[in-house]
Amino acid sequence: MTITALRILPPFAIGRFGSSPTPQANYDIEVEADAPLGFRKVRPRETLEVDEATGAISGCGVPASVQFRDGDRIRPVAPFLEVFAVDENGRMEPLDLDLLRREGLDLNALAWRAKVANRKVFRRTGSEDDIVTAKTGWFSDHARQPLTGRGANLVLAPDGSPPEIPFGDVRFIRPTPEFPGIRLRFTPAEGLIYGPATEDRDPDVIPESRAIYSVRGDWVGFQLQDPESYRETLPPALYAIKPPAPSWLNDDIAISRGYVDDACDGKVTVRLTLGTGRVLTAAARICASPPAMVPDSMFIRSLADDLDQIVHGPELPADEPIEVTRARAEDIVRRAYETVRFMNVPVMNGNDYDGRPAVSLDTMVAEEAFDTERPVRPAMAPEAVDTQAILALHQQVFAALRAGAAPWFSRLLRRPDEVTDYTDEGRRKMPALMSGADNNYLALTHRQIATIERASRGGPSDHPASSGPTAQGLVPRNRTAQIHYAALGNPVTSRPEMSVGNCCPGLEVDFRAVWRRLLEGIVLVEHDNFVIETDKAHRELLHHRLLRIDGVPVMAEMRGPSTSDPDKSIVLTTAENPNGVSTFEWSNTLAHTLHNKVGQKVRCDFTASPAKDPVAWPDNGEDPPPHVTHELRVRPFFEDESAVISFTLAEVGELTQGLCSPWQNDYRECSCYYWASSRPDFVNVEIGTDGLSRGDNWMAKERSGNYVADDYRDTQLIGYDDLFKHWEKLMRFQIKGRDYDDGSAAS
């Protein structure tokens, strides 16, 4: 073959923190045929052992069981990235010693490099000195290459530790005759917090060795000033602040403690110099993120769903066999009940709980009430929201689907343009009680919705199920196969299907960040239609608001029930949001444009002048606000022909810059309890003798079977500082819906 190009697979690999020296063994999760409604089974898979001294794979075996921690130390997920060669006929095959030999090459023809960054502090302060970057330079050996984060605002620690944040390492795995493939391993950092080099820090959180943030920088004591409010994240603050926290319950005062974590995202590049002297390169993305605490469940909207929509578009092909559509619909319903399982539905519904008013409990409906300055209203009938009862109903839908019966519930799905509908009908749509990337109620992707709609229209088939379309396999054009590629040794939690898709801000990455530069000439805020940067040609658009793209509005009015007329709704204005409008999440809003108009110019309407307050294009035929129209070109989403998210859209470090700093904050602070695969709410759930569900709050320090209502001040619950100090010990894995602490077999 003639090698014409390279690919690194997977194109996006997720590493997960942990301080155990033993990396997480490989495992997959699968539905058991004889327990289709049960939890997915954790199946140990072929696990690669890397010899520390040589960097070669010294063994490959399937462990008897899967262990997630060693005592108080969590095993890090350290994914491998494999290199594939593309030939002149468009075929892909693994690049290995044999192929190199056939090409007259050896390992010296290969080199790797990596660059990662943590831009979380920069995202808030705007100071480039706060960017912490690690670069390896090209390397061809097989030693661990530390990813040493450095930044202008890092200083020598009081104990003499260097001004560096270790982001883990990368290692070119030495190919051997037994394991001849060319692969790199990314081992993430431990999940530590670094902080100010000052005396008044809490030494239990920031020991001397990690007190490296300079007092010269802006981060310690940082507080966003009103004129800079466009730099605010969504949700606001999202960083460790001086007590009391959270800020929104304490007069919106958010003074930074100056904490920085060792999360990062970035790029690994492989280089192959051919005998002709031609140099081929390929890249992939990596990120370091928190562990998936519920490894046997998947969330209803994952990053893979968003990527799937980007690759295939928001609609389904007309000729897709109904069996294929229905199988996908089944998967969505399964993930729906896997999501419900870990929610205390009555509490999330906005019921009062244990004598405490719903407004005092952190829920999506309470969030909605805060945002709209309205009283909390339960979303659904308060008496009909027992978790197990709701779960059973979802499972019954699943059983009906499996009988070939059309589900008929597609009309109950929330459309992406209905996320700001806060009427009773709007709030009851599915998925219910959870936040989306825009802090409104979560909607599925257009493509997921189209899947359910198609399945619901299909009706039962009179013909035996076909085997579906022939799989295209791993070819350069099949981006889906590349995105989902399961590299040997990589557990499922390293793949996008285990990454939450309702990113507000997100957990593994803040996926909203990829849309900021989709339109050439301007940069948007990841969660807003505010133009934060422009190129020279579009300088006049700076601080304007984007109203429509290709005729599609990007904001909508928030509408709630009219008290005087139940058939009507009103716009929910507040003093802070006088127009009562909210931005839609970009992923769904831009889906059609991205699918149809890449490389083309599209009409974009902006406010005619800079606009601090949100402004929407009216959807009721009223006159639009004064506006100007520009034609902007739509950038491609992927790098060249690959399945790698474009580095023009998001530079190294930008996919994680909108996340919490430190990441532990998110586990305490997120009000939405929406990450079934990562951050459960209701665990150890059982049916009480009253026929109703009972269980523990995952964040409770002691398990009693009595759910402790969320309360930032309640010491029964894991608090901010508990997480900062002892997150690895306190965060408990869940298997089959129950605490899984013993580290014994999950097989």
């Binding site: 009555p346 008496e383 197990q388 009862a389 019954q396 009988a403």
Partner: protein, 506 residues
């Protein structure tokens, strides 16, 4: 159905009249009488609902020529919408009964006989022009406007109804009673409303206002079916009268979502408005309260008439939109007399097992329905309770009924080679009366679940004889058995709790 027989005893002698007359028998009080009429109304709503479901299940767009498939899909959607709204009517009638302190009723006519109140003989059959004519007539306003239905078309529909009924009578070996006319259901509601609205007949003290919180409400039962059009369609029309008229003219009825009317009612006036609204949605537009008329929503009559006209013009002898399903399928009962000829016995052994399972789950649905209504009388509505959980079981069994129907419509009624397909029999059990003691209700649920599991086990033990549906049968049974195991564990846990508390109290 003994109950239905008894209902009819009170109206015997009236059947010969051209139009049903509603005269209170002397042995009944007005309260009794209106409760009886409500029971009959409930039975009619229930009967219509299952007949419409059967008709909708029978439709298969794939059988239509490519250019007609959308029509068939829209017909199916529209009929299902009507069936959902009938469910709302059924529940609203229960609310009125609750308000009046009367017993609830989920019974319905089970046999294809005529009764003076039922609009046409009950018959589960695939959709045809004849059956459609029956549905149109049933839902027809007593005085339709000329611009929506000419006298000529009306007469043609009535003639078709009579022919349809006569044909089936002949096939069943029965002599048609030519004096018998199909009836409008609106007449019944008119009578109920006139009695309830008359303070001299029903005193204020008859209304149990405190039952308001225990009545079915939209939040719990409505499934968000608020009616209306998709926003993108609604946006095309302004809210003026001219805009509404334009919308009415231009937007096909199938585009309107179901509007499930379920409102608890605290007073006589609320009951009257509620009954008028539901009658107006169905059969008696003239009863619709003024405030509801300003919002255009297709009535059941509008929907059926639209389908009827399209069916008449689109379907010819070369194709049928319906699957080749039998009418009135029943499960044979060992040792019993041969069924009457208007029934079709499901003789395929495996199909009969599936149909048995269907009947059982239909019974479970109605059992859970009765139970949740009873539990809601004692539950505290501000937090999760068993009434709410049992209500979800009702919806779960609806999904089950739908799933089983989707299998039965693809299964042979007799020999596998015979193209004729079975269908959901919707046979009622010997009684729907729940045990007096609540624990016994739970035991009943437990036993029925166990029986369902047992039937499912038998079905799983043998391979399917119908390749077209074999994979779906396997997948469904696998999931359903697992779901039933969970439900059974839930019921057992409740019973265990009851036993424990009894032990503790001894």
């Amino acid at each position: 159905m003994a109950t239905v027989h008894r209902q009819h005893r009170h109206v015997s002698g009236l059947a010969e009249a051209d139009e049903v007359q509603f005269e209170k028998p002397p042995e009944m009080t007005w309260h009794d009488y209106v409760v009886l009429l409500l029971h009959i109304a409930s039975g009619i709503e229930h009967a219509l609902m299952v007949q419409y479901l059967y008709a909708a299940y029978s439709l298969d767009p794939q059988r239509a020529p490519a250019s007609k498939r959308k029509h068939v899909a829209h017909w199916q959607q529209s009929i299902l919408t009507i069936a959902r709204e009938e469910m709302g009517h059924l529940m609203s009638v229960q609310n009125v009964l609750t308000l009046l302190g009367g017993p609830l009723s989920f019974e319905r006519e089970d046999l294809p006989w005529d009764s003076p109140y039922y609009p046409f003989p009950f018959r589960l059959e695939p959709l045809s022009l004849g059956s459609l004519a029956c549905y149109v007539f049933t839902e027809m306003p007593m005085r339709p406007d000329d611009d929506e239905l000419t006298a000529r078309e009306r007469d043609a529909i009535i003639a078709r109804v009579k022919n349809h009924v006569r044909d089936h009578d002949q096939r069943a070996g029965r002599v048609s009673d030519e004096r018998q006319r199909p009836h409008h259901v609106g007449k019944l509601y008119e009578r109920i409303i006139s009695i309830i609205g008359d303070v001299s007949l029903i005193p204020e003290t008859a209304f149990q206002t405190s039952t308001y919180a225990s009545q079915a409400n939209f939040d719990a039962w409505g499934r968000n079916y608020r009616g209306g059009l998709p926003p993108e369609v609604a946006a095309l029309y302004d809210k003026s009268e001219a805009g509404r008229e334009k919308q009415k003219r231009e937007v096909p009825n199938w585009k309107y979502d179901a509007h499930v009317l379920i409102e608890p009612m605290p007073t006589r006036q609320a009951a009257v408005v509620s009954l008028k609204t539901l009658a107006g949605q169905g059969e008696a537009r003239h009863l619709l309260p003024e405030q509801r008329r300003s919002r255009h929503e297709p009535s059941h009559f509008d929907r059926f008439l639209e389908i009827y006209r399209q069916f008449e013009s689109e379907v010819d002898a070369s194709w049928s939109p319906s699957r080749p399903m039998v009418a009135n399928p029943i499960v044979p009962v060992a040792g019993s007399a041969p069924p009457q000829t208007q029934f079709t016995t499901i003789t395929n052994r495996r199909s009969a097992q599936w149909a048995t399972l269907f009947n059982l789950r239909y019974r479970m649905l109605l059992g859970f329905l009765g139970h949740t209504m009873r539990l809601s009388r004692v539950g505290y509505a501000e937090r999760p309770n068993l009434a709410g959980s049992v209500m979800h079981r009702v919806f779960a069994e609806m999904y089950n009924v739908k799933a089983l129907a989707s299998l039965l419509i693809r299964r042979p009624v007799a020999d596998v080679a015979d193209p004729l397909r079975a269908g959901p029999p919707f046979q009622l059990p010997y009684t729907l009366v729940l045990p007096i003691v609540d624990d016994d209700c739970w035991r009943l649920h437990r036993d029925l679940l166990a029986e369902a599991t047992s039937i499912a086990g038998r079905l799983r033990s043998e391979a399917s004889d119908e390749p077209a549906v074999a994979a779906d049968e396997t997948a469904y049974l696998q999931s359903q058995v697992a779901a039933d195991a969970q439900t059974l564990a839930w019921v057992e846990q409740i019973l265990a709790g009851r036993n424990r508390s009894k032990g503790a109290s001894r």
